[in-house]
């Protein structure tokens, strides 16, 4: 394994994303320390995916700043700026939709070779085999097409594609919401192991509060483009929440209740 640079964190300061007249993300700030795992939960359409996309330069940043955070005392030099090729290598995203995020007519091999070519990383052969191996897919999967894989296997390929560039930060958008309970457990275990092994920093979007508290130390709750509150996973698990929206989320996460408040 090549020596990786030390862990890096992520800071988002006063980020806004506006489409035409519509404010999808409204002045949001978060700070994720190097090696930490940070969760984002909230309403559908509240801007969670848009935040991750703006960090990667896939959504327009109307206002605010995004930067990497060096570990305390680290003086290894300047951190790459958003938009630079080096930033795009160090910050990788795994998308919400395992069915749509892989190119249907590309073999897994090409899917993994492409980012290596873009970032001019040599030794593709070894790296591809090692990446498949790391996510628990053997060499046998290398020349298959996405439609020949199950949902969980596709999500493993998406994770392999992100890891192959040896990133410091993984942005995970609902990485398991399309997966069943057993495959979800396998993918979550895989992500935790990768985080430990490579000292990765995670930002994880999920609507499953149990998944977020399992994976993250801290989390932010969002509604209509804004931050509602930020709290620790322990606060959430012990119902120490102050905002009414977060309280509603907690009640809702217990499941359906006939004659519950939604029925009105």
């Amino acid at each position: 394994m090549t020596a990786r640079p030390v862990a890096a964190g992520l800071a988002i300061d006063n980020l806004s994303v506006v489409y035409d007249e519509f404010t999808a993300v409204d002045n949001v700030s978060i700070r994720v320390e190097p090696g930490q795992s940070f969760g984002i939960v909230g309403e559908s359409g509240s801007g969670k995916s848009t935040i991750l996309r703006a960090v990667c330069g896939l959504a327009p940043r109307t206002a605010g700043a995004v930067s990497l955070v060096a570990p305390p005392g680290d003086r290894t030099g300047a951190l790459p700026a958003p938009g630079s090729r080096e930033f795009r290598r160090r910050v990788q995203m795994v998308f919400q939709d395992p069915y749509g995020s892989l190119h249907p007519r590309q073999t897994i091999d090409r899917t993994l070779a492409e980012p290596l070519a873009i970032h001019r990383m040599g030794d593709a052969e070894t790296r591809i085999e090692r990446a498949l191996d790391e996510v628990g897919l053997g060499k046998g999967f290398r020349f298959r097409y996405p439609h020949q894989l199950s949902g969980g296997q596709r999500q493993r390929v998406a994770i392999a594609r992100a890891l192959i560039l040896e990133p410091q930060i993984l942005l995970l958008d609902e990485p398991t919401s399309a997966l069943d309970a057993s495959v979800q457990a396998e993918v979550l275990n895989l992500l935790e192991e990768m985080r430990r092994r490579h000292g990765l920093t995670f930002v994880l979007v999920s609507h499953d509060l149990a998944v977020v508290t399992h994976m993250c130390e801290r989390l932010m709750v969002m509604q209509r483009g804004r931050r509602v509150e930020e709290l620790s996973a322990d606060d959430l698990a012990l119902s120490r929440v102050s905002d009414p929206y977060t309280q509603r989320l907690m009640v809702a996460s217990r499941g359906f209740r006939r004659g519950g408040p939604e029925a009105a």
Partner: protein, 283 residues
């Protein structure tokens, strides 16, 4: 295996769906599924690839052309689905039977705005003026908890969030106003509060209008709290049937294993247990 309702609107007996495999033979994806459905909520759970969607698609007549569907019986409201013509099946799909498909991004037309797609569904069901059609579409978007229907009406599928696409699909279903709805992971991309609001809509359609609902999902907690009965599928078969809320009393080691894989709020289990699949489960 009788539901709470006396009249069964849907009868499925020994349904099998097979696809050609690479060896030149056929592999069964659904291997003898039987159930009856009244005016109730029937859940189907099970891991990826267990045959949930293929069961739903066979009932609708949406099996891929290379697939082969057989059954002893498959009837909707006395209509023999196995021997209906393609035209009859299409007429049923457009009217009395509806399906919310698993992947909104694939099922929505990418070059047509969300609003126009809802209006198109409406046109297929009723004679209304342009103006009235637009109002009805906006009203339905509001019903599925879309915050700003006027804005979303003009957006294209790639401009809406994952959960908004799912709600657009449900809006189209509401307009079609079916007697039988097969909903395949209809809320998997939604946050839990909106999820429950949509379930409440489906719930009212069952209770007030007597709609029959087949609710396919891998979300065990949701299905267990929402449905009257639950079929647990594994490798193309129903391995267990549970009554409402009966997830905790599941007997089959597969069902128990699935429940055990779920992370739970306030518990620290690292790594999470995974499923140790037994060959005998697939027999």
């Amino acid at each position: 295996m009788n539901g709470p309702s006396v009249a069964d609107m849907l009868v499925v007996d020994d349904l099998r769906v097979a696809f050609p495999n690479r060896e030149g033979g056929m592999t069964e994806a659904v291997r003898g599924v039987s159930f009856r459905l009244g005016r109730e909520r029937l859940g189907i759970v099970g891991e990826s690839g267990s045959g949930k969607s293929q069961t739903g698609r066979a009932i609708l007549g949406l099996t891929a052309p290379e697939g082969r569907v057989t059954a002893n019986r498959m009837e909707f409201d006395g209509i023999d689905l196995l021997h209906s013509s393609a035209r009859q099946r299409r007429a049923l799909r457009g009217g009395r039977i509806a399906m919310v498909l698993q992947d909104p991004k694939f099922s929505l037309n990418p070059v047509m705005s969300i609003g126009d797609q809802i209006v198109e569904t409406l046109d297929a069901h009723a004679r209304v003026s342009r103006r009235e059609a637009r109002d009805r579409a906006l009203e339905t978007l509001r019903q599925v908890q879309i915050d700003n229907p006027e804005r979303v009406f003009d957006l294209y599928p790639h401009e809406v969030s994952g959960g908004m696409g799912q709600r657009a699909m449900i809006a189209m279903m509401l307009i079609a106003d079916p007697d039988l709805l097969i909903a395949d992971e209809p809320t998997s991309a939604l946050d839990v509060t909106v999820q429950l609001q949509l379930l409440a809509i489906l719930d009212r359609l069952v209770t007030d209008r007597g709609m029959g609902l087949v609710f396919i999902s891998h979300d065990l907690r949701l299905v267990s709290t929402f449905c009257d009965r639950i079929l647990v599928m594994y490798a193309g078969k129903v391995v267990e049937e549970l009554s409402a809320g009966g997830l905790q009393d599941a007997q089959h080691p597969y069902t128990r294993g699935l429940v055990n894989c779920l992370p739970r709020l306030g518990e620290h289990r690292h790594p999470l247990p995974t499923l140790d699949r037994r060959p005998e489960w697939a027999l």
